[in-house]
């Protein structure tokens, strides 16, 4: 009797993998008509929807069916469905071109037939964000921002006012794997987090995964944000220009050897520094001292990509991102007869590069090989000298640099199985700190650099299996490893997602995922400063790990054209790190606290402590992706707690970004063909912070009488993160006016950030009620950053 289940299992697997001789494969690419841009995530299904597949990240699909006559439908949000009749008695290659339902003004034509609905997807905790929505949602100073749109999704929290950091299901900003064309982006923020690197101009797709992670992803605990850049228009040269309040941007794309390849270049630069120059010069001319000061801040982004079809079966892509923030200050002044020249620079930036080769090995097997480079670095430099000689020089830097290879297969053995497998290896070089300090005055000459190298590996296999007509599963396993110094870590990471279709439009879903993370981000209070350090797991600092369970429902309301998902999750995190109390990134290279110079010097490992985290909650999402009125309503109820032996006296405490309630409402309405209205409203429970509550004297021991009095002032705080800031809420609105011109479409957007001028707290401090009177009452004060901020931008998209 005991053998029966095993036999049943074997029969099922045999049936699943059995290859009937009378089956053949339809395969090819799905592309956009006109630009021939590959379309990923297109639903391809037979009439009746019995068999189906989704196009992969490069637009490739493969569907193996018994011989016969079929009507194959290709369907994608925002594009007109196409149905092709296919007579199948041998393998068929079928490239399909879908036409956008947008007219020249970008107005969507509603097209609703069969879609892959939420209730049909096996994956849960996954959100695809249309680029069109990103471009229409009102933004701070009109700067469109992918990460800030992601923040509007349930389960995702922002840090503080205006910040683009992401806190997904209780995880920190370091626990998000942000991938751009396969390359990891380590610091996705400009201007201390007020803007992100991604404005959507060069992006083709954005997907957020919060749980139920497919095995092909690894290396982070809390989320994956997978972004793909556009390939560029293969038919004609075209472009886009945009001018905003603080930056301008441009996109140029066009064909290479028409039809065979294409390129796209996208750039953005701020001009705060340029605008400020007249004021600085005006100030200097008023001072009339002969001294001169120049300074400013700017950031820029540059995305570029080229691709080329070597043959029907081979394509190559080369893409890259380069971006940098820079503060600079130069002063020239006279001191006696000496001319002093002082320069200070503070900059940080990312660079990524990806070379990919697609090869269709056979109609059922697609392979992609990627060579990837990624780096992030921070530089602080200060130099002072007189009469063209340098007398003082300080250079501090930190960063991370990766070289990686990925080799991924998509195998479509039959209509029941979609298999992905492959491996990845990444060579990391971490530089937590590199310091050069030269000072002629006291003959200081310090040069030290700490550097670690590590190799991270991952091998995986996953299979999306249609077990019955009602039950689907995406199961996989990833073996991850990390080698650093003499230390080796290996971990199995099983992943399972299940979807059971309870009725035509309702499914019950569940998922389980374990994740490991071999890199840590050392961050003071999680503010997300560029000074945060990327460091590896070492012998002393173990890799982070997490286990996440999720259970949910997905319901489609097809008549009304919206979907509802409700998910509950429970996540545990181990070996998460934090700075020890009183420690900061500046305390490196000193003697170990209080243990004399003969002991070893302080390293970043001495400044940190590791602990556990728990996060659980419920997320509700009501979303409408098509129609005159689109948008979503999201609500999250969650708890996030941490426990570290050496923090908060070992007691559990709420994470800084623990947020009990988080609401976001996003709406876009097509008022007329050429007018789109958009609005957002967000509400979130206040951040949990540690507040100083009293001061007291710390005497030396044994305490002595008043004549020998020596004491210092101690500070008493609430429990760690034991005080709640006021709740955050804000409304933004925007309106886009489009006009068709001779050579393209002009869009003017007028928007307002923080419409009702809510003074949301950025941070709290203790101060005097009257700031100019130190005798006045001590009160809790807040600094608010952004009042109501109107903005206007101009955009021109060439035909």
């Amino acid at each position: 009797m005991k053998q029966i289940p095993l036999i049943k299992l074997l029969v099922i697997f045999s049936a699943i993998f059995a290859q009937a001789q009378s089956k053949h494969t339809i395969s090819g690419y799905v592309k956009e008509a006109g630009s021939k841009e590959a379309l990923l995530g297109v639903t391809i299904f037979t009439s009746g929807g019995e068999h189906g597949v989704i196009s992969n990240d490069f637009g490739f699909y493969s569907l193996t069916l018994p011989d016969g006559d079929y009507e194959i439908t290709f369907d994608y949000v925002g594009y007109t469905q196409i149905t092709k009749k296919v007579h199948l008695d041998s393998n068929v290659k079928l490239n399909v071109y879908l036409t956008s339902t947008e007219n020249n003004l970008g107005t969507a034509v509603v097209n609703l037939k069969k879609r892959e609905r939420e209730s049909e997807k096996v994956r849960m905790s996954t959100v695809e964000i249309p680029i069109k929505q990103i471009k229409e949602i009102p933004a701070l100073l009109g700067e469109k921002d992918v990460l800030k749109v992601i923040q509007l999704m349930p389960g995702v929290q922002s840090g503080s006012e205006g910040q683009s950091g992401l806190y997904v299901r209780g995880g920190g900003p370091d626990q998000n794997l942000i991938i751009l064309d396969g390359a990891t982006v380590y610091n996705a923020q400009h201007l201390f987090g007020f803007f992100s690197l991604f404005n959507g101009d060069a992006l083709r797709s954005v997907e957020l995964i919060k749980g139920g992670f497919p095995a092909r992803y690894g290396g982070r605990l809390s989320s994956v944000i997978d972004m793909n850049m556009k390939d560029g228009n293969k038919e004609k040269t075209t472009g886009e220009l945009g001018i905003g309040l603080i930056s301008s941007r441009g996109v140029l794309e066009g064909p290479i050897n028409k039809g065979k390849g294409s390129y796209i270049i996208s750039g953005r630069r701020t001009y705060i520094d340029v605008l400020a120059q007249p004021f600085i010069k005006m100030q200097q001319s008023q001072n009339n001292t002969g001294n001169s000061t120049t300074g400013g801040y700017f950031f820029y982004d540059l995305n570029a990509k080229v691709n080329y079809e070597l043959s029907d079966k081979d394509k190559v892509y080369l893409s890259g991102y380069f971006g940098r923030d820079k503060f600079y200050l130069r002063e020239r002044y006279e001191f006696g007869e000496q001319a002093i020249d002082s320069r200070t620079n503070f900059g940080w930036g990312n660079g990524t590069g990806t070379l990919r080769w697609n090869h269709v090995m056979n109609p059922k097997l697609f392979v992609n090989t990627s060579l990837i480079y990624s780096q992030y670095n921070l530089d602080i430099a200060s130099k002072e000298g007189q009469n063209d000689t340098t007398q003082f020089e300080l250079r501090y830097g930190s960063g991370i640099r990766d070289y990686a290879i990925k080799h991924d297969y998509d195998w479509y053995p039959n209509t029941r199985n979609k298999v992905k497998f492959g491996f990845a290896a990444t060579h990391h070089t971490f530089t937590p700190s590199a310091l050069v300090l030269l000072d002629d005055f006291d003959s200081t000459n310090i040069k030290n650099k700490t550097e670690y190298t590590g190799v991270e590996t991952g091998i995986y296999i996953e299979d999306e299996i249609k077990i019955t007509s009602k039950l689907k599963t995406l199961s996989g396993i990833r073996l991850s490893g990390f080698h650093v110094g003499d230390q080796n870590y290996f971990n199995f990471e099983p992943r399972v997602s299940l979807a059971y279709k309870a009725s035509k439009n309702l499914s019950v879903k569940a998922s389980y995922a374990t994740m490991n993370q071999y890199v840590h981000l050392l961050s003071n209070s999680g503010v997300g400063l560029p000074t945060d350090l990327w460091v590896p797991a070492t012998e002393r600092v173990k890799p982070q790990s997490s286990t996440q369970y999720a259970l949910g429902l997905a319901k489609d309301f097809t008549k009304q054209n919206f979907s509802v998902t409700v998910e509950g999750y429970y996540k545990t995190m181990n070996n998460i790190i934090a700075y020890k109390e009183g420690a900061s990134f500046l305390q490196v290279g000193e003697s170990l606290a209080g243990e004399g110079e003969s002991t070893r010097k302080v390293t970043w490992e001495d400044n940190i402590t590791s602990g556990q985290g728990t996060s659980y909650g419920t997320e509700f999402l009501l979303q409408r992706k098509e129609g005159k009125l689109t948008g979503w309503f999201g609500y999250t109820l969650s708890w996030t707690k941490h426990k570290f032996d050496s923090l908060n006296l070992g007691k559990e405490f709420y994470a800084r970004y623990d947020r009990r309630h988080d609401i976001s409402v996003v709406a876009q309405y097509q008022l007329k063909k050429n007018i789109t209205l958009s609005a957002t409203w967000v509400y979130g429970t206040g951040n949990a912070i540690t507040l100083p509550i009293s001061t007291y004297r710390l005497d030396e021991f044994p305490p002595r009488g008043s004549q020998f009095d020596y004491w210092a002032q101690g500070q008493e705080y609430t429990e760690r993160n034991g005080f709640r800031m006021a709740a955050y809420h804000r409304a933004d609105i925007g309106v886009q006016f489009k006009k068709e011109k001779k050579r393209g479409v002009r869009t003017i957007e007028v928007s307002a950030y923080n419409l009702y001028n809510q003074k949301n707290p950025y941070y709290y401090f203790i101060g005097n009620r009257d700031r100019f009177n130190p005798e006045s009452e001590k009160v809790l004060k807040q600094v608010s950053l952004f009042p109501i901020l109107p903005s206007i931008s101009w955009n021109y998209k060439f035909k």
Binding site: L141, F279, E597, S598, R697, E716, M725, A726, V779
Partner: protein, 268 residues
């Protein structure tokens, strides 16, 4: 040019922050706490305690207030005493000589007139043994350095040591010997080596007088005091990049520290 200026002003406004008093959240209820800083070493003859009140941040009191009318009781082998308040020195002192013995537990009780009761206890640590000190001179062109190396028997697991070093200076202007506090270290018996090597720099020889040697206390300390000392080494509340520190206390019902040290004094 007009447009240029308008854009610049708009941008500046965008980044202008504003301050305000927080009136939409409930502030934590903060009570004044009694702060007891007390203790002694085997080298002292009396037991002393400094008792003050903490100063809640939202009160405008500027000065530290001493508690002058508390009942302070020390209990333990050869140490039962009720301390008396010395108004001149603003400190509580034991009436009798106290002789603390290693391994014995001592209890402290503090009762204030407004009904607050605080308590603490500590076990007298074991005396460090095998202490040796060597001093080498390193002469530089404009100053001298003395490298002193102190070694001691490795403390047992779970034991904690403190080393305090003072320079003994002989001033030209005075016949008195001046003890200049130099440095202080704490060690955990669990992880630390039983050896300390440190340089002591004597700058501007002519001005500050003759260096006569070093005075070194090597003390066995309690775990609580070890944690307290380690925390205070990192204590920089004014550093914006520094995490807030919870200063440990072993005073039940209040703040502060009850410290017992078993010390060996070495002069070299």
């Amino acid at each position: 040019m007009k447009l240029h200026i308008i854009i610049a002003i708009t941008t500046l406004i965008a980044f202008a922050s504003c301050q305000g008093v927080v009136d939409n959240v409930e502030l934590p209820k903060i009570e004044e706490k009694v702060v007891v800083q007390t203790g002694m070493s085997n080298l002292d003859s009396t037991f002393t305690a400094k008792i003050t009140l903490s100063n809640p941040v939202f009160k405008s009191r500027k000065d530290i207030v001493s508690v002058e009318d508390a009942e302070v009781i020390l209990k333990g082998v050869n140490a039962n005493d009720t301390l008396t308040y010395d108004v001149v020195n603003a400190i509580y002192t034991s009436k009798a000589n106290v002789n603390l013995a290693a391994g014995n537990r001592y209890d402290l009780e503090v009762n204030t007139m407004d009904g607050k009761s605080l308590s603490s206890s500590a076990v007298m640590p074991v005396l460090p043994t095998g202490i040796q000190v060597e001093v080498d001179t390193i002469t530089h062109s404009d100053y001298d350095q003395y490298r002193y190396t102190i070694s001691w028997d490795k403390p047992a697991e779970g034991a904690y040591y403190e080393v305090r070093v003072y320079q003994i200076m002989d001033f030209d202007l005075s016949a008195d010997t001046f003890l200049h506090w130099d440095s202080e270290y704490v060690f955990s018996g669990d992880v630390s080596a039983s050896r300390l090597s440190e340089r002591l720099s004597i700058y501007d020889y002519e001005r500050f007088g003759a260096f006569k040697g070093v005075l070194i206390y090597v003390s066995g300390i309690t775990r609580e005091f070890y944690d307290y000392s380690k925390v205070l080494y990192n204590y920089e509340p004014e550093n914006p990049f520094s995490e807030p520190i919870t200063i440990p206390t072993n005073i039940n019902g209040g703040l502060g520290m009850f410290v017992l040290k078993n010390s060996v004094l070495v002069t070299k």
